[in-house]
Symmetry: C3
Amino acid sequence: MIEQRIKELTGHDLPTAPKPLAAYIPAIQTGNLVMTAGQLPFKEGKLLSEGKVGYDVTEEKGIECAKQSAINCLSAIKTVIHDLDRIEKVVKLTVFVSSAIGFHSQPKIANGASELMVQIFGENGKHARSAVGVSELPMNAPVEIEMTVQVK
Amino acid sequence: MIEQRIKELTGHDLPTAPKPLAAYIPAIQTGNLVMTAGQLPFKEGKLLSEGKVGYDVTEEKGIECAKQSAINCLSAIKTVIHDLDRIEKVVKLTVFVSSAIGFHSQPKIANGASELMVQIFGENGKHARSAVGVSELPMNAPVEIEMTVQVK
Amino acid sequence: MIEQRIKELTGHDLPTAPKPLAAYIPAIQTGNLVMTAGQLPFKEGKLLSEGKVGYDVTEEKGIECAKQSAINCLSAIKTVIHDLDRIEKVVKLTVFVSSAIGFHSQPKIANGASELMVQIFGENGKHARSAVGVSELPMNAPVEIEMTVQVK
């Protein structure tokens, strides 16, 4: 049901999580929490954009990257719980935004992810969130997101 | 009792948490943990300072900002548990400091928040903490803090 | 047993955790999770390197720093659980890499820590991980790591 909702909202099936790289895994369960590794805005094997938001990446593109990273968090969570309907609520998002000097609208970028969670999960999608501007992200990605959800 | 203690230490009543913006909420409970969203040093609707610590914000001002952000974390937690006396212990603080090039005293800034927690909660205020320097924070805030507490 | 394994892998006894500074503690337990404070690559009281990876710190040195920070996380955890054999699994690593402009290989640096966890703990060492590039770290350290483990 949740996967169907994601497809309606994004126009795409939930992607398969990237293969575990080296020594870490896309997500892990501890008690009834599932925490993801930091997810980049990969789509079909390529980053949606590269660079810093407010410089070579527009706000609009940054928001798209936040959405895609959040979708990839859900893919990562699926590797652990197999069925996204087992998500009871979204607990926490930490959104790192690769930011141009003087760019201070990290919350606007992060809202791309936060609003998508509420569109997908309704009231259970409302979460605590931090949005932080950083100087460099892996592979020159504009956004990296980690997510914690509570499962039943 | 804890709120009374905060008033004694800061000279102010605990402020009301900012209204939930868009799709995220100031704090959330999962099990017996309450986690806040990243809190900025707002006081009466305005940031205490703007800019980077070590450049246009002094260390002293940065410490004040860390204290205010920590107070705002407690306000955020209150939206969930209603009574701060239900806090059993402070678990974790992550302190992001918007840092001038070459500024490496993030722990000194973060101590503003950490020491306040011990003043308020005594032994139960002792927490694990990370202090990290970042390039840009939302609204040009000098400090952003997220807090996790254990509640009874 | 785990400490013996660490000695075999690193050639050193597990160091003693640094004394608690001011108002925070090296690690804390909540339920069956133990979370560390952000750990820097100190070895025998000195940072292994200072500066930014990709500028004045080589990738190779950065990887060493990640390993040392991870070892120090284990030392921090030991202050709480006394015996590292009580670690059931490694849950999460957040790896902050002080990054030169244009340096995007944070995952390569973070792998130093991630791979060491798998060498030490085997399957139970596989964790979720975020690697983020930041502009400045405390004391000009090249790497800062926080770790969460599940204990029995």
